[in-house]
Symmetry: C2
């Protein structure tokens, strides 16, 4: 399909290079140097896997078992192909002064990358004790895959890495995220052919429809047809050349093939192909930038087919090694017990001629050192891989200027729609370092206002209809593709490189990326322990279209359990906020956008809801993270008879309404109303930096009074957070449980006993010393509940969470915040009377 395509269908990775590009740019001398540099990296790879002593095999007795590590760990299989690619890109970086970095998709095979970081000096700069000599080499070997040392992936300890690859599938989406708004950057991205079978990777190729050649950099993917996974051939290595080419052209790329094992011809092919690709990238960028007309180039990508375990022995013990899955991990595992294999290993290592590669001190010889770029141009040292240079804080408009005017308990507004106005101006004020991400839900989530500052990025085809409210633009600031994996990967890459952003998603479907977010938590947790790692902007996840308002979407759209997944992650990293209303939500988002190295999860529904706090109150409340709402309590200066608590928006409104019901029907009861915004306040300060001490906790929740908690998510999470608290056995939590019907919001709440009536009844049940009116009140509440259900049925399912059902009169029962709270408590058991407030 390309003018130069002449390959037959050949899936063997062996032989002379077969390549789309035919130039041979390297001199004989260069060929020799590249082979030697390649050998140096491969020698180091083997050293990392096998040796604990005599790193350059210079002892007179040769390689003996006493030089071997007692446990052999690490992956060799994909290291040669990765090193080879890295090596040849170095040539171009030097030649064209490129700004580039390397993403190691396969992860395993990190030795192929670490060896470069070491030879280029970056590793020594990060870890001065790993010197550029035999001693340093030995240290490097020793600490690889050793407890307390470095992992067998491109972990945060590896200079130049921003992608670990422990869990596969995110290399391409990370790469795109990294180059957004960095027009000069090239992400050289090695994609494993195993990784390429994952769903997230398979769709990430479509990122090219969202990349603007004027304002963004470029991703240069190298699909590594290494041939095998752990124990199976890979799918893409076992389809015809024609299918492979069509697949990537279909994805919108221009594939260039480099296939074979013969070193000299492969060097020529890879050098020529990379140069062709970079030339094309630069030409597309120039065309778009000169004309000011962004378009969607068919960006180049490379398919590198090389043998797994390339340059290793072709056979060991009668079994294939090079070019087979047996080379995946440690290529020869029995060298400590098989003298024959130990000799074979030694011969293999010596085949790289270490004595010609390293000088007497053990340092890479000078003519080879000259092959690597210098300073920040080294891919192992590009500042973008360490949070940029440095992270530029967001220029945030004052959220208070966007606060809702609140008539407490009466104002009915969508705090989300209001937040969208602030977010619009966040976008407008940070047009090169903030983006909004989402899987086609931004409008549905009522954030469409942001389009006024930045439309949706779209480089695919457009039609005339799009003018009718399509909000598409090549230069937008909103990134939407129906793949949670892709938008999350983009966002992760974007902030890893120093940007800021927000992912908005329907609450239930965020589970799709549980595992990605978990891996990002681990990355950050680990970075916190690596001295030279700079802090980056937090990963901000806004969950909306929440469980309590999945009216007609029903059961499949109900799952608030992402919080449970997050809660298990490191307390140094995770933060969970459940603002009860619009102003607390604004304050929370402002806080999150300013924070670093966290994963912030904010849960707030998009529908119109009652508003409670004005901006000053919201600020104070959010600063404390939780607090007693005196205006909603009765006799706030007294020890309460019962504590009512809301954690979340809808559930807080219901808990407030329950409080009003109690107050109206059982005046004299001392009710304390508590709201929690910052979920980790509940946990002990020993377990999370936001946790309260027991004393603080008791001062709010008491040690011994019943606490009725209405919680946004599955109820058990609150118990998990509070099981050690003094009053834990008095805490009664309502929340969502899996049932499985289509419900009105009211029915759903009732089914979960999270509605105002159930909560009030529960409160009555928990105060056994109430006067004898209590049981009558309980029955009255039950009747009202039944009437409410009837009302909701009569009105179809269009009842905005009982908003208009008698709320106003209920609300009258709640102290207006401006007024003084009633200071004179009646005894808990006293006859009910009207408060008159």
């Amino acid at each position: 399909m390309s003018e130069e395509t002449s390959q037959e269908n050949n899936i063997s990775p062996f032989g002379l290079a077969r390549s789309t590009v035919k130039e041979q740019p390297l001199t004989k001398e260069e060929l020799d140097k590249y082979t030697r540099y390649f050998n140096a990296t491969l020698y180091i790879c083997l050293g990392m896997i096998y040796l604990k002593k005599d790193p350059l095999l210079r002892s007179p007795e040769g390689l003996t078992t006493s030089h071997l590590k007692s446990r052999l760990l690490g992956h060799f299989g994909s290291a040669p192909g990765q090193s080879f690619t890295y090596l040849h890109f170095n040539r171009l970086i030097k030649k064209l002064n490129l700004d580039a970095f390397f993403i190691s998709g396969p992860g395993h095979g990190a030795p192929g990358i670490i060896s470069h970081a070491y030879l280029e000096g970056s590793y020594t700069e990060a870890y001065p004790e790993v010197t550029q000599d035999s001693k340093g080499l030995q240290r490097l070997f020793h600490q690889f895959s050793f407890p307390g040392g470095m992992g067998s992936h491109a972990t945060p300890e590896v200079p130049g890495s921003l992608h670990e690859g422990g869990e596969l599938g995110y290399s391409i989406s990370h790469a795109f995220g990294t180059v957004f708004d960095r027009p000069d950057l090239i992400a050289l991205t090695m994609v494993g052919d195993g990784e390429s079978e994952t769903g997230p990777l398979a769709t990430a190729w479509h990122g090219n429809k969202f990349l603007n050649p004027v304002t963004d950099g470029a991703v240069l993917p190298v699909l590594h047809l290494n041939g095998y996974k752990i124990n199976n051939p890979t799918v893409l290595a076992r389809v015809s050349h024609e299918e492979l080419e069509m697949l990537f052209r279909g994805y919108g790329w221009t594939p260039y093939f480099v296939e074979g094992s013969d070193l000299d011809s492969m060097h020529q092919a890879m050098a020529a192909t990379l140069e062709r690709c970079v030339t094309e990238i630069k030409a597309y960028q120039k065309q778009a930038r000169d004309s000011g007309k962004p378009f969607r180039p068919r960006w180049p990508m490379i398919v590198l087919r090389s043998p797994k375990g390339w340059t290793g022995p072709s056979e060991v013990g009668g079994h294939h090694l090079e070019g087979f899955w047996r080379a995946h991990q440690v290529p020869m595992t029995d060298v400590a017990t098989s003298d024959e294999h130990l000799k074979q290993l030694e011969a293999w290592m010596r085949s790289y001629k270490p004595d010609e590669l390293f000088d007497a001190e053990g340092r890479l010889v000078e003519d080879l050192r000259a092959l690597a770029p210098e300073g920040d141009r080294r891919m192992s040292s590009n500042p973008v891989t360490n949070g940029g240079n440095p992270v530029k804080p967001l220029d945030l408009p004052k959220w208070q200027d966007y606060a809702l005017q609140v008539d407490p308990g009466v104002t009915l507004e969508s705090g989300m729609t209001n937040f969208a106005k602030w977010l619009r101006d966040v976008v407008a004020g940070n047009m090169t370092n903030f983006r909004l991400f989402g899987p086609d839900e931004t409008e549905s989530n009522k954030l469409g206002e942001v389009y006024k500052a930045g439309k949706k990025v779209w480089l695919a085809d457009t039609i005339e209809y799009d003018e009718d409210g399509g909000n598409l633009s090549p230069t937008g600031r909103v990134m939407e593709m129906l793949s949670e994996h892709t938008v999350e990967g983009w966002l992760e890459g974007y902030i890893l490189a120093g940007g800021h952003g927000l992912l908005n998603s329907y609450e239930p479907f965020i589970h799709i990326i549980d595992s990605m977010v978990g891996q990002h938590c681990k990355w950050i947790e680990k970075c916190n322990q690596v001295e030279w790692r700079k802090k980056i902007s937090s990963l901000n996840i806004l969950l909306t279209s929440t469980v309590w308002r999945q009216d007609h979407n029903g059961f499949t759209h109900q799952d608030p359990g992402f919080l449970d997944v997050l809660t298990n992650k490191s307390p140094e990293v995770v933060r969970i906020y459940l603002p009860p209303d619009g102003n607390t939500m604004l304050s929370t988002m402002d806080h999150c956008f300013k924070s670093k190295n966290y994963v912030n999860c904010i849960v707030y529904d998009k529908q119109p809801h009652l508003q409670f706090l004005n901006k000053e109150e919201a600020m104070t409340h959010c600063a404390k993270g939780l607090g007693i709402w005196e205006w909603a309590s009765t006799y706030p200066d007294e020890e309460p008879d019962i504590v009512m608590c809301g954690i979340g928006d809808v559930v807080t409104a219901e808990a407030l309404a329950a409080t009003a019901l109690l107050k109206e029907n059982l005046p004299g009861i001392k009710i304390r109303f508590v709201n929690v915004v910052d979920l980790f306040r509940l946990v002990s300060h020993q377990d999370h930096p936001h946790g309260l001490t027991d004393k603080e906790f008791d001062s709010i929740f008491t040690r011994d009074k019943p606490v009725i908690v209405n919680f946004h998510s599955y109820p058990w999470l609150v118990h998990r957070l509070t099981y050690r608290r003094n009053g834990s056995r008095n805490i009664h939590v309502r929340g969502y449980r899996e049932k499985g019907n289509i419900d009105t919001p009211l029915e759903l709440a009732i089914k979960n006993k999270a509605d105002r009536f159930s909560l009030a009844m529960e409160a009555i049940d928990q105060m056994p010393n109430l006067n004898n009116r209590a049981s009558a009140v309980r029955e009255k509440l039950r009747d009202e509940q039944i009437r409410a259900v009837a009302y909701s049925f009569e009105n179809g399912i269009d009842v905005p969470h009982l908003k208009d059902w008698n709320w106003a009169s209920r609300n009258a029962g709640i102290q207006q915040k401006g007024e003084a709270a009633d200071k004179k408590p009646a005894p808990a058991g006293a006859e009910a009377r009207s408060t008159g407030s």
Copy 2:
């Protein structure tokens, strides 16, 4: 690329049909009938969204607001394309007597499917009150998207559905799973172009490399280029025709295009194209079956480009509707308030000419009824969509015949390797209704033995190297692709259709499919409430390569939190088992394979571990789900001083060793040892059918004695399960917490205080009334712990969980099971003495 390709690049969905296949098989009379049947379904779609009364618009005043539902819900956008496809496949089913069913990938747009199920009579068979007349029609309309009625997706309530589509991305993998081992079945699979952007869907196309044309059925995908998601164009609808064609050829399919909006020509094109596809499918199958040589056909698939909201008004209120995203959900939302739009809606509905479609009673007119297939041939009634006909139970070999010979606490074996032998024979005995699934980890998980009964299915290319232990075969029984999404989707489809299976996965990466498993739980939960739904085989998930043995893979490979995700799901559905050793594991798997309608999660590590129970004991223990191990306890007839408890394999071994340490060092202490296999035994019987009553719980764990629990997963889950128990405040749980280093198994355990020494020290701390030797013992244990760490460092990280570290002598401290336990307790505070046992 096809001989018939003649399309220009045209992304407009409008106009005369443009199609790859040019035949025009329909007579004029047929054309008329198909249009009318199509109209009937679309009329019903609108009725479901809009009407609560006068379902056929027969009242003299016409459509008035009083006929409208008070809340308008539902999705119209993709319904016409889906109905159209369904309709034309009906023709082929009748003509060729096909065994087929329909998967509605988009989910939303279910009215398009439900209307067919109703018109074919299946709906009435399932819900007799929804009769084939005006009254039934009105019921159908009313209960759509109404509380207690049916959802707006292809939910379990919909006859003929086995795929809900609430969460998008799994239509193709479900389809493949369904047709495995069902050679005559065709899964007509409508793939939404929104859905096609998801990762899981993007890789699921590769399923064609795993489908055997001899023994499996066929998947016929219809990619519906409906053009829009909620608010955005779809990627695949906005790339060139050439790219689209190459993409699917690259995926290994033969795409046939049907594009346009003109009804007559579209009918012809779709009829001809579907017929071509089925003819090709049958020809490929015949070729493979006649020759006995399975191969990989380039299976046909269809790209259907039709306008979103096809046949709807082209404009409403000055905005595009048909062919635009505004048709996604309810096409006109303001009909209750806009008289103009109400009139427009009426005109639209009448444009389908309901009076010519339905007779006086409101039943579909006879000549149209004749278009649908009958009985089980109706896609809405195919038994495969309801668990097969019926689910054939597995023929299981007696697991006891495979039990390990156990010298308790001494035998060191991999229970997984042993299980693999039984599993091999499970495979061998059920060659057409059991498959093993996994993402390239089956061998790594030590289950490779199964290849002797059934190799890995592989229809892609092979090379000579594969003979060297590749274990590939077109007729295998093991399904491996490096996509957890795909293998999970296959397994779900396989069991939904009546098969049985097991997914094996590394524990940490199962989070990748949190959300899929959650959706399956919801499906089953809902099916339990739908009377006519048959029970299907449980979804069995075996997690191994667990957190405690992620030696060199390190931090990214540590996450046992899938259990937390499952625990939130319906107690009617989820089951979690943590067998402590090989025989309990066998017994557990046997139980799971026999169960129905559950999601069973079994956690068991693959490494060699100490064995404890013989087959009889294992059977008894598993039947109880938890129990006191008297042989490991001291003074088992007495009320204990302390309860030691293990939940999981490695952690139970450590808890046992801790018990031995205590026994040896503080003889006279009354220690009760408990092991829990069935996690939900811990929870109240009110919350889960497996839960113990408080009385039962107390009889094992006591009400007031300290309980030291060593738990496999994050420790808080145990607290979440037991917070209501009487002794909850005495329960001290050790488990995994996120730290972030590479550790030896020993260090990892120590860091989490889950090792034998820490546990023993914790036990001492929890018994404040111990005699004055206790503090000396505590120090001694601390010393031993330090020595153990030193030992582990000296020996690299190759310490199989301290197996060989002084275990033998420790073990002597545990009562041998054959011996009588010491009956005479010393008082808890008595002077330490040697037991001499």
